[in-house]
């Protein structure tokens, strides 16, 4: 019944049945927890539904079943079916509490990325490096997603999950996100990283992830807190690269900041003054 196929392959979606393991230590722990509770529910369901179906088959009046009207109370049974779930819950609560503590442990972060949600885009600021940029839905997706655009979404690569500027992070590094928002509440989620957290205007939330060293790649997600008309159109794309590649990328970004801006800020709104990197520069860099 369950298929552990990777998400976001564009051809067919029938195999998408279950959560994926993801590419971080936390996402794997969450996945294991998810499967544990799933199997607990599954076996309880087998017992409970089994009993119900047995009763529905066995005790039919059409099969001549006579009601046993004295069978209305049994202290033994009632103690049993109160105690058994209690024990199962305690057994489930222990690993869940353990993972929860790990999730909330932001000690030892190696780099910090400030993420600000806007209607309807994300701003990323590399606090340790001193640069940042906005990230919005890619132009192709944006064109195709207009009402009655006439463009088949299937013809657009990574439809609705593609951006102009990808976030770049190094693998094997504990990255701490500081999340906030400019206008309304948003939420930042990459399913493969296992965690999501709200970006609340006026407050700063923390979450962290550490992409496995052997899992560089591009990971995609979306805003997951209703934030208005274009809530469905502010994707999140993170490119996880080796530490060396990251250092090279960050150096290029910083170098791009130094000279006076050559190009006028084309699609960059006024609020972007602190992050002068333009879309074209960012795209050129990340492509390399």
């Amino acid at each position: 019944m369950l298929n552990f196929a990777r998400p976001f392959v564009a051809d067919s979606g029938w195999h998408l049945l279950n959560m994926t393991e993801g590419v971080t230590d936390l996402s794997k722990k969450i996945y294991v927890l998810h499967m544990e509770i799933f199997w607990v529910c599954f076996w309880v369901a087998v017992v409970v539904y089994g009993a119900m179906i047995y009763a529905l088959v066995k005790f039919r009046r059409s099969k001549g079943a006579q009601p046993d009207t004295k069978f209305v109370h049994s202290t033994k049974a009632e103690v049993l079916w109160t105690a058994a779930p209690t024990i199962i819950l305690i057994v489930m609560a222990i690993p869940a509490a353990r993972v929860l503590i790990q999730i909330e442990d932001t000690r030892g972060t190696e780099m910090t990325l400030k993420v600000t949600g806007y209607q309807w885009k994300w701003q990323y600021e590399y606090l340790d490096e001193g640069f940042g940029f906005f990230s919005t839905l890619s132009a192709k997706s944006n064109e195709a997603r207009q009402l009655q655009s006439g463009i088949d979404p299937r013809s657009v690569e990574n439809y609705l999950l593609d951006v102009d500027n990808e976030v770049v992070v190094p693998v094997g590094t504990k990255v701490r996100l500081l999340l906030t928002a400019q206008d309304v509440i948003h939420a930042w989620w990459i399913p493969a990283f296992g965690m999501k957290k709200d970006a609340v205007p006026g407050f700063i939330n923390e979450m962290w992830f550490k992409v496995d060293t052997d899992k560089p790649g591009v990971y995609r997600g979306q805003c997951v807190e209703l934030c208005g008309r274009d809530h469905g159109f502010m994707p999140i794309v993170v490119r996880a690269v080796s530490k060396d590649e990251y250092r090279a990328w960050a150096a290029e970004r910083k170098a791009a900041l130094a000279p006076p801006a050559v190009e006028p800020a084309q699609a960059v709104p006024a609020a972007d003054a602190t992050a002068p990197a333009t879309a074209s520069v960012a795209a050129a860099v990340t492509r390399g």
């Binding site: 998408l16 279950n18 119900m52 489930m92 929860l100 997603r145 399913p191 609340v200 469905g232």
Partner: protein, 536 residues
């Protein structure tokens, strides 16, 4: 008030002493008339809210935006939820309470008939206001039924209209709840003890206390939205020293008991129907009562499991995870008791029983996904995805809605004196049961695969299951027209029902003549009748 008044003295008793025509309904003080109005109103709202859901499913049938603007999409999801919760399910429960509680506790009517009239007649105005808010400048309410600020404060003229509508619905619910409590506490016939009451009466009593406890909290929360928007307060704005997350805490302090308000009466109904068609008394009556009360108590201390991702301290997340998991225990007790009621019974499968059994299977399924959602670390993945949508629709549609339909099929012969068409009833059941699973089961897959909720368009890998879900939605939606047809046909031309259409039914309502007289128990039922009715 009516020219028939002079007949009353001449008549043998006061049966059918009532105003006729429109006055019968507008001036109604009779619990059955008011119950009927509540149920008809709920049915209309069910179809209006349902058509909005179909608009949503139509847009989600394929990736890309084919039919509606994203802003309209958000209005549809928001108003669909508000109509279904406050307009369909809650009034349906109050309608059933009106019809059944006086008959079941041996009372002539509800304790406060004029209040009863008032609490019903608030509703049409509240919902005219809410639905009307879709057509004002700035568009309808589109911030989700949870009304989270700051988003909801971006609404135009619809914001104060929706808030006032919610105030009115809340007032109606509180008045209805007061009436239920006073009726149950004061109008029980001599000899009907608290622990002799049918479970529907018990669960409604508990529901009524929940309503009185939390509806004012919702009213307070939305009033704070109103003052933030119009009177310069900053309850929910960080810029003025407030906190948007505080709204969520207040809202869900209302919202979690609210979900039990929507489901507890269903527990009561199922506890009436299953024993009837198993032909044996409910298993573990007292533990059912205590389990319902425990669930109600727990509902007050679990609210923040709706907001694990807002950035709560670890201790807070831990507390709300563990307290939420506890709910599985009393809920499990209930499910096991229903199973044990089936055990060694003599089962038949008439339409009410089919709906009650579908409740048992599918509500349990929603319970399992609920348990998964309680696990906070896993919830960081599930939260705000279609997995959550699947979960709460499993507990609300086959949970509450199926049970309301089961109740209508079950008591319709007593109410109208006519029998519904069993074949059509079964058709309605099977179409609904298949439709609801095709509709909602794939949404578990979509959520686990990473599809967020409340999005009007999705990336293409989600296309297949969305298409299946939409097909299910149209099967489910259109088969509900059959329900209306069956009920109308029964009322108009159904075959005459016997006084006891179900030989396994117990309870004082079955001791009344069929159709039930206009005034229920004008004389208290005799101890013998009470004893016969209370065989559980």
């Amino acid at each position: 008030m009516s020219h028939h008044e002079h007949d009353a003295a001449a008549a043998h008793d006061d049966h059918d002493h009532k105003p006729y025509g429109w006055q019968r309904w507008v001036y109604a003080t009779n619990h059955k008339d008011i119950g009927t109005m509540y149920l008809v109103f709920a049915c209309i709202m069910f179809f209006v809210g349902g058509s909005m859901a179909l608009v949503v499913r139509l847009e989600l049938f394929q990736p890309g935006l084919q039919f509606i603007d994203p802003a309209i999409f958000n209005e549809m999801t928001t108003v669909h939820a508000l109509l279904m919760i406050f307009g369909a399910v809650m009034p349906a429960w109050t309608g059933l309470a009106n019809w059944l509680i006086p008959m079941q506790v041996g009372a002539p009517d509800m304790a406060l008939p004029r209040l009863n009239n008032f609490s019903f007649w608030i509703l049409p105005f509240a919902f005219m206001l809410l639905i009307g808010s879709l057509f004002v400048p700035g568009g309808g309410p589109a911030g989700g039924w949870t009304l989270y600020p700051p988003l909801v404060l971006q609404g135009g003229d619809s914001l104060p209209m929706a808030i006032f509508a919610i105030h009115m619905m809340g007032a109606s619910s509180i008045l209805g709840a007061i009436n239920v409590i006073v009726t149950i506490m004061n109008m029980r016939a001599p000899g009907v003890g608290l622990l002799n009451m049918p479970l529907f009466v018990w669960t409604w009593l508990i529901t009524a206390y929940l309503l009185i406890a939390v509806m004012p909290v919702l009213a307070g929360a939305v009033t704070m939205l109103l003052t933030d928007h119009f009177f310069g307060t900053s309850f929910f704005s960080a810029a003025g020293g407030g906190d948007p997350v505080m709204f969520q805490h207040i809202f869900w302090f209302f919202g979690h008991p609210e979900v039990y308000i929507l489901i507890l009466p269903a527990f009561g109904i199922v506890s009436e129907i299953i024993p009837t068609f198993a032909r044996k008394p409910l298993f573990g009556y007292e533990s059912m009562v205590y389990a319902s009360a425990s669930i109600a108590f727990l509902s007050f201390i679990v609210w923040a499991h709706h907001m694990f991702t807002v950035g709560m301290p670890l201790a807070g997340q831990m507390f709300f995870m563990l307290s939420t998991m506890l709910i599985a225990i009393p809920t499990g007790v209930k499910v096991f008791n229903w199973c044990a009621t089936l055990w060694r019974g003599s089962l038949t499968f008439e339409t009410p029983m089919l709906f009650a059994l579908a409740f048992l299977f599918l509500f349990t399924c929603g319970g399992f996904s609920g348990l998964m959602l309680a696990i906070a670390p896993a919830d960081f993945q599930y939260h705000d995805t279609y997995f959550v949508v699947a979960h709460f629709h499993y507990v609300l549609v086959p949970g509450s809605i199926f049970t309301i339909m089961a109740a209508v099929y079950y008591w319709l012969p007593k109410w109208t004196g006519r029998m519904y068409d069993e074949t059509l009833g079964k058709w309605h059941f099977w179409l609904s049961a298949i439709g609801v699973n095709v509709l909602f089961f794939p949404q578990h897959f979509l959520g686990l695969a990473g599809m967020p909720r409340r999005i009007p368009d999705y990336s293409v890998q989600f296309s297949d299951w969305n298409m299946v879900s939409s097909i299910g939605a149209f099967i489910f939606g259109f088969s509900q027209l059959l329900f209306v047809y069956v009920v109308v046909k029964t009322v108009r031309s159904g075959a005459k029902a016997p006084a006891r259409p179900w030989e396994g039914a117990h309870g004082l309502e079955w001791e009344l003549p069929t159709p039930a007289p206009y005034h229920s128990w004008t004389e208290p039922p005799s101890p013998a009748l009470i004893a016969r009715g209370a065989e559980h």
